[in-house]
């Protein structure tokens, strides 16, 4: 067999390559730069490569090609929009990651061991979280543009493996953090296996792993339908696991709670964008013609996810777990954009993902600020009266909660409106009704937190609010601004998305 040398379009791939380059430099920095200079060098390298990548995405935003890397990736409007969203969300998350207080000094040391204590005492803080972040981000950039199942799987692993590690890096409550990392890893490995199994079945059906090949095979009805159905089912398991949809959500509350909060912020926001991006592409391009094979299943999962997420969130007493269940509910809302299977659904999903991602990072940024002597305080009972002690922090958090609840004049409302109207337009009335009702349920627990913060008196137990570092402040201010501006003047971004977002098959 003759070997065909791959033809790569380096310009179109440059955002990914820049980040990979940055990650490799980060590894070298970790090895060779002196202890004192390491954090600032790492931060600059990471931010620098993210900004460069963003600039590069902007420069190619009008281009599109199916052959940037043979037929493995498709560069098109939705892909680039999602990439830009992921990079922007990563930038504001990196501001939070820059808070080294949150991370263990030496991840390799056993919790509570002498080594760990020694590392802490000598201030020997390792900063491997930066290159890990960059590796994860580059995987996320590949995920929504991958246009064959193999690339999709590679991207899935590429974004997941660094995240498994990052979840275990917490300085406080290290055992819980490591436990969550292990859970995430084991369940993630399972779901990857399902994904791969599904990919094999799809190949069996279509004799092709490319999305266009699958699309053609479905259009020609040339393969064995059973293989297709099993393939879609297993593939969906892998993807639904990543977005945290019920019944594949079990990891998310534990991981959200156990992981260091900056990592949770990054993971909750960026992973969701990447995973939904991939889902949108595969269902909109590869499986579009087999609509009746998967929309009923996804509709059911969407309804269960919204209702379950909203209901269980009510019972949560921990702010990070509550946000985890809220993110499950939002995964359900986002699924209605996938089910819509129309242009409006695609536009709405991209808008929703960006708006939700930014607000999520902002919300978690606030969580990092509420602390006592032993680190972050995530018990909601101890958030009582926060509005009295630190009105600005509490008001910002309340604003993010209102955005999650979809109250008008926040980006969340525009997102919710656009995604539900797209779903309704496609005839998914049941999903929309479930969505509206679970929004009402969800509003209840968001408001309960606002009540806690503003309408109950503080208890004196040493909980205090950290004065935010300037980088954390930046994250919060950017998130607030984006959430507000997208709620009041969403037109420019909506138009931009509408003009750009068309999948290239």
């Amino acid at each position: 067999m003759e070997f065909v040398a791959p033809v790569l379009n380096y310009t179109l791939l440059s955002p990914i390559l820049i980040l990979l380059g940055g990650a490799l430099i980060g590894v070298l920095v970790e090895a060779f730069v002196s202890k004192a200079l390491r954090p600032i060098t790492q931060l600059s390298v990471t931010l620098g490569s993210l900004v460069l990548a963003l600039v590069q995405v902007w420069r190619i935003h009008n281009e599109s090609s199916t052959s940037a890397a043979m037929s493995s990736v498709t560069i098109d409007g939705p892909g680039l929009l999602l990439q830009a969203s992921i990079i922007i969300i990563s930038i504001i998350s990196v501001f939070l990651i820059a808070d080294t207080e949150q991370f263990t000094a030496l991840a390799a040391a056993l919790p509570g061991s002498d080594e760990e204590r020694h590392a802490l005492q000598t201030g020997n803080q390792v900063t491997e979280v930066y290159p890990l972040t960059l590796f994860a981000v580059s995987g996320m950039l590949v995920f929504p543009i991958a246009s064959d199942l193999i690339t999709l799987f590679v991207a899935l692993e590429m974004l997941s493996l660094p995240l498994y590690l990052m979840a275990g890096l917490s300085r406080r409550r290290r055992l819980a953090s490591q436990e969550s990392a292990l859970k995430y890893f084991l369940l993630g490995a399972f779901s990857s296996a399902f994904f791969l199994f599904g990919a094999a079945f799809i190949y069996g059906f279509a004799s092709s792993v490319t999305f266009s090949g699958i699309h053609d095979a479905i259009a020609n009805a040339s393969g064995n339908d059973v293989f297709l159905l099993i393939g879609i089912a297993f593939l969906s398991v892998g993807l639904l696991f990543k977005v945290g949809a019920v019944p594949f959500h079990a990891w998310s509350p534990d991981v959200y709670q156990g992981a260091p909060t900056p990592v949770t912020a990054f993971m909750a926001a960026a992973t969701k964008v990447a995973a939904f991006g991939a889902m949108l592409r595969i269902f909109y391009t590869a499986f579009a013609n087999a609509e009746w094979s998967w929309t009923p299943m996804l509709s059911l999962i969407a309804i269960i996810t919204m209702v379950f997420g909203s209901l269980v969130a009510i019972a949560q007493r921990d702010v990070k777990r509550m946000l985890a269940y809220s993110s499950i509910a939002h995964a359900g809302f986002l699924l209605s954009g996938v089910i819509a299977l129309n242009k409006a659904g695609l536009d709405a999903s991209i808008f929703y993902l960006f708006a939700y991602g930014v607000a999520t990072v902002g919300g978690f940024a606030i969580v990092t600020l509420v602390r006592d002597a032993a680190g972050e305080v995530t018990d909601l009972n101890r958030w009582k009266g926060l509005g009295k002690r630190s009105p600005w922090v509490a008001s910002s958090f309340a604003f993010f909660l209102l955005a999650f609840a979809g109250i008008p004049l926040t980006s969340g409302f525009i997102g919710k409106f656009s995604i539900f109207s797209a779903a309704y337009e496609s005839g998914a009335t049941g999903v929309v009704i479930a969505g509206v009702l679970s929004s009402a349920i969800a509003a209840f627990f968001y408001i309960r937190v606002i009540v806690l913060m503003f309408f109950t008196d503080p208890i004196e137990d040493g909980t205090s609010v950290e004065i935010p570092s300037s980088l954390t402040q930046l994250t919060i201010v950017i998130s607030l601004l984006v959430t507000f501006v997208l709620g009041v003047f969403p037109a420019p971004l909506l138009n931009f998305i509408t003009n750009l977002a068309t999948f290239l098959r």
Binding site: D347, G387, K388, P391, L402, I407, P408, L409, F413, I414, F417, S418, F420, S421, Y424, E425, V432, I433, V436, L437, S439, A440, A443, F444, I447, R448, V451, F454, F455, T456, P490, A491, L494, N495, T498
Partner: protein, 502 residues
């Protein structure tokens, strides 16, 4: 022509000024708030003078593109109905600020925050009545819950946070049902000639009667919670009991009117057939509200809850007038909305002064106020007479019109509703007798009468109540063409009056 936008901006400018003031200077904050609301009221009155009364089209129309990809416009315009309600809101605002001069002091937060919330709310009150884009209306409808929520929860008394949450959850639930209907309208408009939220365009949509019924319910339940109609009223007494008197005036006087306003502007215009289908049910609910509200008002021991239940009874009259589908009924309902705003304001403000002086809101704690504080007692008496619709008071005209308008088409409902008037005499005269007359209850001897500020605040309210009682035509001239227009659009003609000497 962008006078409506300017009107909406004025309170926001006041908000900005207040935000820039130092926290310590509370008097200045209040003065700025008062000045702003007075200017807004003056501007609205000027606008009302420039309003062409015989023109049934929307006036002061303006339209700016807001979110073009969804066909959403920032479009405003008013007809007689919205003008009357905006006028009521902006005239009540300075009265509330002046009357509740010291209301903000018992709150969780500073005086500054209180007036920022009030002024932001005023902007939204104007916007919600002036919006002619359904999306814009919805946005304001939902957004205005937030300042009210913080006003009740932050500055109220008693179980204030529970009451605030109850209010918010009820309203949000209704709002989300309405959102479902709005999404459906939007999608249908897309299928029938382009996405739009323009009220006039949406009212031309073709839909099956099932769709119309379902969508109607989405809107109607939201409005019935707001209004509030039995059995969706349970949040109101709690909210009114906990809120400060000023907030209660805005809540019952203005915000609840959004419900009845919405029934006319949105339910009837968008879903004329469904409105007819549900008319019998809604009329029954209205009559139940009238009687139920009145009976519960009689049984109340707490003055604020009593006023809340009288309002439920009054909102029953308004809803009945709307769905009687006659032009008198409609005019009466609209006038009722205006009058109810002022008579409830009078009751809540005077009641609030009584409560803050006595330190208790239990009716039994008062007694003999007529002797100790004659001006306050007389004010309360007049407010009460207005609430029971005594001839010569403004509410008599509107209640009469509603009953006449209903009787021509639904005599049985009107007849039962008339009992509401009898009960009204009870629920007003019992507290009047207990609180104002008889021997002075121990502990009341030292109560002080109304001071100058309070007299200035209550005087215009009573003046309006009495003046409109004798001479309602200035308002009716504005309302009648608008009501006749709605009824004509619905395809109704008024039944010929039954003539006795045929």
């Amino acid at each position: 022509m962008n006078s409506l936008t300017l009107l909406m901006l004025l309170p926001l400018i006041g908000t900005a000024v207040i935000a820039a003031l130092p926290k310590s200077n509370e008097t200045l904050t209040k003065q700025v708030a008062l000045a702003t609301t007075v200017i807004v009221a003056a501007a609205t009155i000027a606008m009302a003078v420039g309003f062409q009364r015989d023109n049934v089209d929307l006036q002061f129309v303006e339209k700016y593109s807001w979110i073009p990809s969804f066909g959403i416009n920032f479009s405003l315009g008013i007809d007689g109905l919205s003008l009357v309600l905006i006028l009521m809101s902006t005239v009540l605002a300075p009265i509330v600020v002046l009357a509740g001069w010291n209301e903000a002091h018992g709150g969780r937060w500073s005086v500054k925050v209180f007036y920022v919330l009030i002024l932001v709310l005023e902007t939204m009150m104007i916007g919600v009545f002036a919006a002619t884009d359904v999306f814009l209306f919805y946005v304001i409808f939902e957004a205005m819950l937030i300042p009210v929520y913080f006003l009740i929860g932050g500055y109220g008394s008693g179980q204030r946070s529970a009451a605030a949450v109850k209010f918010l959850i009820y309203s949000l639930f209704g709002g989300l049902l309405m959102l479902g209907s709005i999404i459906a309208l939007y999608v249908m408009s897309g299928a029938q000639g382009g996405h739009t939220f323009d009220l006039a365009a949406l009212s031309q949509l073709q839909m099956t009667s099932t769709t119309q019924n379902v969508l109607f319910l989405g809107f109607f339940i939201a409005f019935a919670i707001k209004a509030p109609l039995w059995p969706l009223h349970t949040w109101l007494p709690d909210a009114a009991e906990s809120a400060t008197p000023g907030t209660s005036v805005l809540l019952l006087g203005v915000l609840d009117k959004v419900g009845t306003f919405g029934m006319i502007r949105y339910c009837l215009t968008l879903f004329p057939d469904a409105s007819k289908t549900f008319t019998p049910l809604i009329l029954v609910l209205s009559v139940i509200s009238i009687i139920y509200g009145a009976f519960l008002a009689i049984g109340q021991k707490d003055l604020k809850r009593l006023i809340a239940f009288t309002s439920i009874s009054h909102f029953g009259f308004i809803t009945m007038g709307i769905f009687a589908m006659t032009s008198q009924g409609h005019s009466g309902a609209t006038l009722y909305m205006f009058n109810h705003g002022f008579s409830t304001a009078a009751l809540f403000l005077v009641g609030g002064w009584m409560i803050s002086r006595r330190g208790s809101s239990t009716i039994a704690d008062f007694g003999g106020l007529q002797r100790v504080t004659p001006v306050m007692a007389w004010s309360f008496f007049l407010a009460g007479m207005s609430s029971l619709a005594l001839p010569g008071m403004s509410s008599f005209v509107s209640e009469f019109l509603v009953l006449v308008g209903t009787f021509t088409r639904y005599p049985v409902h009107a007849a039962i509703a008339t009992f509401g008037i009898v009960l009204a005499a009870l629920y007003i005269l019992i507290p009047v007798q207990k609180a104002l007359h008889g021997p002075t209850t121990p502990g009341n001897e030292e109560l002080s009468d109304l001071n100058l500020r309070e007299k200035i605040a209550i005087a215009p309210v009573i003046a309006i109540i009495v003046a409109l009682g004798f001479y309602p035509s200035p308002l009716l001239n504005v309302i009648n063409p608008a009501s006749a227009h709605v009824i004509a659009q619905m395809g109704f003609t008024d039944p010929a009056p039954t003539n006795g000497d045929k």
